[in-house]
Structures are given as structure tokens and as C-alpha cells.
Amino acid sequence: MNDKYREDLMAALDVVPSGSSIAVGGFGSSGRPDALLNALCDLDKRDLHVIVNNVGDDYTGIGRLVVEGRVRRFTGSFPILQSFYDDYFAGRIELELIPQGTLAERMRAGGAGIAAFFTPSAAGTMLTDGTFPLTYADGHAAQYLSPKETREFNGRAHVLEHGIAADFGLVKAQQGDRLGNLRFRLSARNFNPLAAMSGRTTFAEVEQLVEVDEIGPDDVHLPGVFVRHVVMTAAPVPAGPEYTASLKGSV
């Protein structure tokens, strides 16, 4: 059996080089792979391009990566965290803002061998006409998101969006087995199957490691063919404002 379970999460994840693109599951803290995200920080990975729906509203998960200055570029729909915007307007982070449904489909397409697709979402808006600032410098927009190719179908404008095949995928599931078969729980599923498909090499952290066949074939939400490594999740690391204050004090 190709046993994908890795007892040493840190050793397994250390193959991720700084500078990588990483698709991440989760919607806020729901279904977010915190053990893997914390390990990226503890392994001092930097210059990352994260493809994830939200940053979250605190300093856990993606928020920790941001506040520690490890994110070069964010591709997603809903950053929200003030520290993220501070970095964006200060020119320290690139914001590729795209509609949430476009993000989900781009991840799916990237993992499904679909190079690009046309969607009506955001057609004729500043997210697709080349006027949305990708980066800032000296308080002004420095670079803009590229204008997207537009084509009419059935009388409606659509824009061309490219699939995202990320270097790595980081996801969380409630159950997983040693073959990487995953089962999610309720709305913690969200972007996880898509981030797993998008990643060329995907890590899944699971709450429960179950025996092969314990998840029946009809109940597998994502088959192990999309998963390279399975690790156990950890209790969430509290990283609230106190953590950030201590971090800023130490820099």
C-alpha cells in the first residue's frame, strides 16, 4: 500500500520551498488547515503566493502568514484583515482580487486539466477591465490587474479566466485514511476539495485517521488520487492580538 500518512508533519512539509504558490482550503476558520499553515510559519517559509478565499479576521491561519510578512501575493475574494490591507497599500503585498465563484472554478479547472473558461461574473467591472490596483507604491496604484479577454455568448459578456494549478495544496478534512481518501464535515468542506485538486502536491490534515474502507466508496468526498500526504491536525494555536503585539515588539 502506498501509505501517505506522515507522522512528522514538519519534516513532510519542509519540501515546500519559499516562493511557492499554495492553494488553501477553508472559509474563514471553518475547514482551514491550521496545523499546516502554522508549520509553514514555523519552518520560516516566505515569499508565498497564497490562493485562498479569505485571509480571515484575526491572526490565525492565513492571518498569521500575513502578519509575519510571508505572503507576496494573495489571490482570493475577501481579504478583510486590516493588517492585510495595510501591507497592500504599503506596497508589501499583491492583491489579485477575483469573485469567489471564479476562484472556486479556477481551482477546480486547474486540477481538472481545463486551461481556461469563460464566465459572466465580473464582466465589465473594474476587476476585469484593467483598472483594479494589483500593487501600490508611494501611496498610489503601481500595477493593475491585467484586463481580461471578453467574449459574448448568447448576447452576454463573459470574461476569460485561467485555471489555477498551484505548486502545493493545503486542505483539512474531518476524516482521512492512509490512501488519502477524504471526508469533510458540513460547511467545513467549502474550498477544500478544490484546493486539493489545484495543488500539484497536496497535503491533507485530518481530525481522524481512519482505516482504509472505513469511509465507504460512496462516501469518499475526495479520493486519495488528489492527495500526496496525510497528517494529523493539531489543536488550534491561539494567535490573537496579544500574539501579534508580542511579535511586533520582537521585530
Binding site: G101, T102, T125, L186, N190
Partner: protein, 222 residues
């Protein structure tokens, strides 16, 4: 007459709950709808007897219900605003790609959302005020994919300026997507691409509405 001259007297139309109640009265049994943040979230508590709707949340929940009660919150079951919810009988969970296939594919009956501005051609601006922090979420997919896009908002902004205007000045969420507008003062429908005033709130006259609306529209009061 300019909008500034109409600042006083302040009109008392529908309250936020009464606006939600007015929208709820237009929902049909069996509708699947998506609710944006703000006033739309209050719509479910005013559904008429015998009307059951399925509430869709962008994060992949079909058929969510009320807050489960203190102590029963489940971090794995939230709506798109990350509030704890319950599931009603017949509810289902999907991933984000399928959730937006439901949206983009036209499988929702209506999406009810707030707005910064609505233009007289149905253009909608509701995601971004330039200079503030940008975030878009699923708004552009919702208005692109849903046949019935109902805006539920205050008739004028905090300065008293109209929000139903000739052309949006804020960045657009979608072109000619709005089909109805429910405000504290009135109800409008878009018919054949034109804006039509169909109803004034109790105690509000067509002249009151006209004085606080800069968009061109016709009247077809019921």
C-alpha cells in the same frame, strides 16, 4: 429641485424589519434564495405562514436555518457571514465550486442583497467604495447568475443623497442586473429595462419618492 433641498423633513417610511417583511411577502413557496448581509438577513423571520424557502449560503449550505441556540453552535456549520446556523429538513452540503455552479447556473430563484447605488438601467454598485478596503466575495457571481436580483436598501444615503440614480458612480458589481428595489419609501420593478415605481410605503406619497430619487422612472402604482 436638488437632493440637498429635500433633506428636511426626514420621512419615516418602513423600518428595516418592515422592509424585510415587505420582501418576504413576495417570496413564493419552494423558492431557493441567497441573502446578503444587512436587511436581507432578517427576511426569513417574516416569511408568511405556509411559505417554505431554501436559504443558500455561498460557502456551500443549501437549506440553512436559524441560529442553533446558545451552546449548540457548530464551528463546521456556518453561513457565508460565518454566523452559526442550523440545517432544515432536506438541507444539503456542497463544495464551493458546486455552490457557485448553483449560483452561476441560474438555479437560485432570487438573490436579495444590499446596495450602495442602483442605476436607472439596473446597474448595481454594492462591493467597493474607492479608497476603502476592497473585498468582493460572491456578489459578482450572484448578480451575474440569478434571474431575480432584489435590492433591499435605504432609499437615500446618510447624507440624504439619492441611491437610485441615473448612473452609478461607485464601481459596478454587474451591468443591468437588478430586477427589483425595496426601500424604506417604495418598491420599484425593472420592466423591459426601465425602472417602474410600483408601490409607496404606508404614509409615503409618490411626490416624496420623486423628490428623493434622481433616476428616471415611470409610475404604475397598484
Amino acid at each position: 429641485m436638488t437632493a440637498t433641498e429635500t433633506l428636511a423633513p426626514h420621512l419615516v417610511g418602513r423600518t428595516r424589519d418592515e422592509m424585510a417583511q415587505r420582501v418576504a411577502a413576495d417570496l413564493s413557496d419552494g423558492f431557493t434564495v441567497n441573502l446578503g448581509v444587512g436587511i436581507p438577513l432578517a427576511v426569513p423571520k417574516f416569511l408568511p405562514d405556509g411559505i417554505e424557502v431554501f436559504l443558500h449560503a455561498e460557502n456551500g449550505v443549501l437549506g440553512f436555518g436559524d441560529h442553533p441556540g446558545d451552546g449548540n453552535e457548530d464551528p463546521d456549520l456556518t453561513d457565508a457571514g460565518k454566523r452559526p446556523v442550523s440545517l432544515i429538513s432536506g438541507g444539503a452540503i456542497v463544495d464551493s465550486a458546486l455552490s457557485f455552479a448553483i449560483i452561476r447556473g441560474g438555479h437560485l430563484d432570487a438573490t436579495i442583497l444590499g446596495a450602495l447605488q442602483v442605476a436607472e438601467n439596473g446597474d448595481l454598485a454594492n462591493w467597493y467604495v474607492p479608497g476603502r478596503n476592497p473585498a468582493v466575495g460572491g456578489a459578482m457571481d450572484l448578480v451575474a447568475g440569478t434571474r431575480e436580483v432584489w435590492v433591499c436598501m435605504e432609499h437615500v444615503d446618510r447624507k440624504g443623497d439619492p441611491k437610485i440614480i441615473p448612473a452609478c458612480t461607485f464601481p459596478l458589481t454587474g451591468h443591468a442586473v437588478v430586477t427589483r428595489v425595496y426601500t424604506d419609501l417604495a418598491v420599484f420593478h425593472f420592466r423591459d429595462g426601465g425602472l417602474v415605481l410600483t408601490e409607496c410605503a404606508p404614509g409615503i406619497t409618490p411626490d416624496d419618492v420623486r423628490a428623493r430619487t434622481s433616476a428616471a422612472y415611470t409610475e404604475d402604482l397598484e
